[in-house]
């Protein structure tokens, strides 16, 4: 099993070169925000998603509304992606194979000059995630593509041989399809590459994390309980008075975002927000993100983030000394259905995270209400959303559920024998 990891290279844009950078990024696309089909990302067989994003400081208004001293943040360029294997190794590989393009892009960042060592610079500018979510641990780009090819090949075979296959009982149908796939593999028309062994170091690290985090929390629990109680009292009073900033967004802002959406069944989402002032909010958010990261790493590794099944990858990243957070995700369907899923299925989870963000609709006991005020929540999200300049997806047209179905079909193809009930369930996926 090859574990996935995320990377994000973050650099401050040289103000004088922002316009040039925007033109350069736009030239990589064939539709607004959509990287063109012949792009260099495609050459990387382990790259699931990637984006180039200009992070403008859109939090100033919120900071002022909260009565905090104004801060001026740089405009950043973020290059981020989700890969099979190690993030640093990917950056090294990228520097080897796409040096010219990357140098041209990063040359628009402060401190990047002709003699800069690209790999060292990218590594030095890597910004880690506070929490990472992967839809399906171990599903590589290669397996996603191979499984999709397997699915389509099986579909064609079943369609072409409908007469002969229609009356086969489940187990016989399974066996027939298995034989067909084996024949296709032998003839070199289908490839189903076996998984790589799980890196030993990763297994150990993951195990230590699995045990270590609860252990530390358990040891610290007497202290945490006291802090927790104090925090809860404080948060309860804060959440009653914290400012809501959910006014309608400008039509031009929502139209500009919509322009780059719904070109594929999957969309990108980037949202930037300021953390509410005070140490209580900061620590609460840090703790919540720790829990989310833990849950995503050890519990939600097979296609579901709580009830949501449409997120391919997601991450939360601290910016500017934990004063701001950026949330980045790749999800299936339109933004409207994404937000509805959020509200109706994981409202509690959203509230406990984003409730610490400036302007979020009012929560009740941290978990309740908040996003249930649909209108305010949708305006809040749109207000904090940033347009992504360049976006890449390795498997156009495939949703996370497609990938899951294809993987389950492959599991069936590769399992020696099935009970009648298992075979019934399996053929219903075809």
């Amino acid at each position: 099993m090859t574990p996935q990891s995320s990377f994000m290279v973050l650099g401050a844009i040289d103000r004088g070169r922002e316009a040039e950078l925007r033109r350069l990024l736009a030239s990589m696309n064939d539709a607004p925000g959509q990287v063109d089909a012949g792009n260099a990302f495609r050459d990387f067989e382990n790259l699931h998603f990637a984006r180039l994003l200009i992070i403008e400081d859109t939090t100033r208004e919120d900071i002022e509304a909260y009565g905090l001293p104004p801060r001026s943040y740089p405009t950043y360029l973020a290059f981020l992606g989700d890969v099979d294997g190690d993030g640093d190794e990917f950056l090294e590989d990228a520097a080897r194979r796409a040096s010219k393009g990357l140098r041209e892009i990063f040359a628009c960042c402060e401190g990047f000059i002709e003699s800069t060592d690209l790999v060292a610079w990218m590594k030095a500018h890597r910004t880690p995630s506070a929490a990472d979510y992967v839809n399906w641990r171990g599903r590589t780009v290669r397996s996603a593509r191979e499984n999709a090819a397997l699915y389509e090949r099986l579909q064609r075979y079943i369609d072409d041989n409908a007469g002969a296959l229609a009356d086969l009982p489940p187990q016989a149908a399974h066996a027939t399809l298995q034989q067909f796939v084996q024949a296709e593999q032998s003839a070199g028309r289908l490839a189903l590459t076996p998984e790589n062994p799980t890196p030993f170091g990763w297994t150990i690290a993951n195990l230590l994390h699995l045990i270590g985090v609860p252990l530390v929390l358990l040891l610290a629990s007497p202290l945490l309980l006291i802090i927790g109680a104090v925090f809860l009292v404080r948060l309860r009073s804060l959440e009653k008075s914290d400012l809501e900033l959910c006014q309608r967004v400008e039509q031009s802002h929502s139209d500009a975002l919509a322009l780059i959406e719904d070109h594929d069944v999957t969309n990108q989402f980037s949202a930037l927000g300021g953390v509410k002032p005070g140490v209580v909010r900061l620590w609460t958010l840090s703790f919540v993100l720790l829990i989310i990261d833990y849950a995503a790493r050890h519990l939600y590794t097979r296609g579901r983030l709580a009830r949501v099944r449409t997120i391919h990858f997601a991450r939360w990243v601290w910016l500017d000394n934990r004063r701001r957070v950026i949330f980045l995700s790749n999800y299936d369907g339109s933004l409207e259905s994404y937000m509805d899923d959020f509200i109706n299925k994981v409202g509690f989870g959203l509230n406990v995270v984003f409730g610490n963000g400036m302007g979020y609709p009012r929560t009740n006991w941290l978990l309740i209400d908040g996003c249930k005020d649909e209108r305010k929540f949708k305006e809040y999200l749109r207000r904090h959303q940033l347009p992504t300049q360049v976006w890449y997806k390795a498997y156009p047209g495939l949703t996370a559920v497609d990938l899951e179905r294809n993987a389950r079909i492959r599991e069936g193809i590769e399992s020696r024998a099935m009970s009648e009930a298992e075979a019934r369930e399996w053929i219903a996926k075809l």
């Binding site: 229609a166 719904d262 649909e374 053929i427 075809l430």
Partner: protein
């Protein structure tokens, strides 16, 4: 709230009635020619309210406006900006067209009306009993109409006696509006219900989230004095209250293409073709559902034998789609599910909420339907054509036929657009792939998926059957988002309150 307080007298009748007894109707799409004349015509127009009369009326009149239409009438931009984003930016905004599936031959550039210079300002809907329509229109358009408006189109309607042009019984399933606001929308809901919060269909009332939808709230002044106050902001006047959004789309139906395709699929066997048609729709031509009728009552489904036989069902017992295919039209447009799968108790709900309840491929995949209901008010147009006659080639110059699809909803993006985008046009609906709605789907390729014209018919304990190469049977010819105001708001728009 007691019944007497329901503001039927301030609500246009179309929200409450389909005017089914008024079998003739014409929707006139127009642009404002003279503001003063338009206001005065609208002021005098006898717009029908939702009050139930002792004697059913012989005629009815309804009006609705697009955002440019409100501007043309002189409504302040700040007021218009208070309506929802989708109403303000309109049906043909490019990203919206992608979401609605209005691309390729359905793209706005191909439309007869509703794009650039053919965007209507308003639609005036005339309804009448048989033989009365012409007289009604003549009477009402007699004075001042021509000075007031430039007509873009007259959308004529026909009456196929409760059937849509392909020949299937239509308009069977509608949500029941909770006019009395007696039902508690706040969840969790574990059983499917057909009663829906008033705020899903009228602005200014609480919706399924117990909240209010976007609409303009303005300061009280001389002009707005006659408007109702906002429930959630009593010092503001509510321009939206008792009004709603009216979505109108002209859908051309290729009735010959439809029947010729499925009879061909059935190898010429007409009885089998009818079965295929039923699988595609999810109901037989007579309206009987393929899903099994349940004994248990469903809230908001009347206990009349005919209603029970057609509507007292869900798809819960047919998770694999063996009786009614997953992708069938009525299963896409109303999956009849609810907030949680399998009626969990509080503990199981908690487990489900954390994502550990369901593990099947299709489990819990479809959004709870109560947030996505629409009130359908469509009428068919063009001459009727029986399935048998449809097998013959079209005579030269044959008249177009189809449906003037119309629906009412308080939140266009969460109701009509969601339904269209996530359910009917979505080739990934409920873990399917490569197929959009077998009846109304556009068959347009999407990125990475060249094919959307399959239709899968699951079989019990056997490999699915599948039809491929479904052509589009429906083409969009025009469309727009309108606001169907309450009657006081209409007077406000026409300046009569000034």
């Amino acid at each position: 709230m007691t019944r007497s307080q329901i503001e039927y007298d301030d609500t246009q009748g179309l929200v409450r009635f389909g005017f089914g007894a008024l079998t003739e109707a014409c929707y006139v799409l127009a642009r404002v020619r003279s503001v003063a004349a338009a206001r005065s015509w609208l002021h005098l127009a006898p717009v029908t309210s939702a009050v139930e009369l002792d004697q059913a009326p012989a005629t009815a009149l309804q009006v609705a406006f697009t955002a440019p239409g409100l501007a043309a009438l002189g409504v302040a931009p700040s007021v218009i900006a208070g309506f929802s984003h989708e109403f303000v930016s309109g049906m043909t905004e490019p990203s919206r067209s992608r979401r609605l599936g209005d691309v390729g031959s359905d793209a706005p550039a191909q439309w007869e009306w509703g794009t650039s210079t053919t965007v209507p300002h308003l639609v005036v809907m005339f309804f009448a009993k048989a033989q009365r329509l012409e007289g009604l229109m003549k009477d009402l358009m007699g004075s001042g109409w021509n000075e007031a408006f430039d007509e873009l189109q007259r959308l004529h309607t026909g009456d196929l006696e409760g059937h849509e042009p392909f020949g299937f019984r239509d308009g069977i399933s509608q949500p029941e509006i909770d006019w009395e606001q007696s039902y508690e929308p706040l969840g969790p809901h574990v059983t499917y219900g057909n009663r829906v919060a008033l705020g899903e269909f009228l602005l200014g009332y609480r919706n399924e989230y117990g909240k209010y939808t976007d609409r303009p709230l303005i300061d009280a002044d001389a002009a707005s004095e006659g408007l109702p106050s906002a429930e959630d902001a009593p010092n503001k006047k509510d321009v939206g209250r008792n009004g709603t959004y009216f979505v109108l789309r002209q859908l051309r139906q290729d009735v010959r293409g439809f029947w010729q395709f499925i009879v061909n699929q059935a190898g010429g066997n007409f009885a089998q073709a009818e079965m295929i048609g039923a699988a595609m729709v999810g109901r037989g031509a007579n309206g009987d559902p393929l899903a099994a009728i349940q004994a248990e009552k469903i809230a908001g489904i009347e206990q009349e034998p005919e209603v029970i036989a057609r509507n007292q069902f869900t798809f819960d017992a047919d998770a694999l789609g063996v009786r009614c295919p997953i992708g069938a039209h009525i299963r896409r447009t109303n999956p009849r599910n609810t907030d949680y799968v399998g009626r969990p108790d509080a503990l199981k709900r908690l487990i489900a909420m954390l994502g550990f309840g369901q593990n099947g491929l299709r489990d819990d995949l479809t959004s709870s339907v109560r947030f996505h209901r629409i009130l359908r008010r469509g009428r068919e147009y063009g001459p009727g054509l029986s399935p048998q006659d449809a097998l013959a080639p079209a005579p030269p110059g044959e008249a177009e036929r189809g449906l003037h699809f119309a629906c009412l909803n308080a939140n266009i993006s969460r109701q009509f657009e969601f339904l269209q985008n996530a359910w009917t046009m979505n080739s990934k609906f409920s873990a399917l792939t490569g197929e959009n709605d077998p009846v109304v789907g556009n068959r347009q390729a999407i990125t990475g998926c060249p094919v959307t014209g399959r239709f899968t018919i699951p079989a019990s304990g056997r490999l699915r059957r599948r039809m491929s190469g479904l052509p589009p049977f429906v083409t969009v010819r025009g469309g727009a988002y309108f606001f169907l105001p309450g009657l006081r708001a209409l007077r406000y728009f026409t300046g009569a309150m000034r």
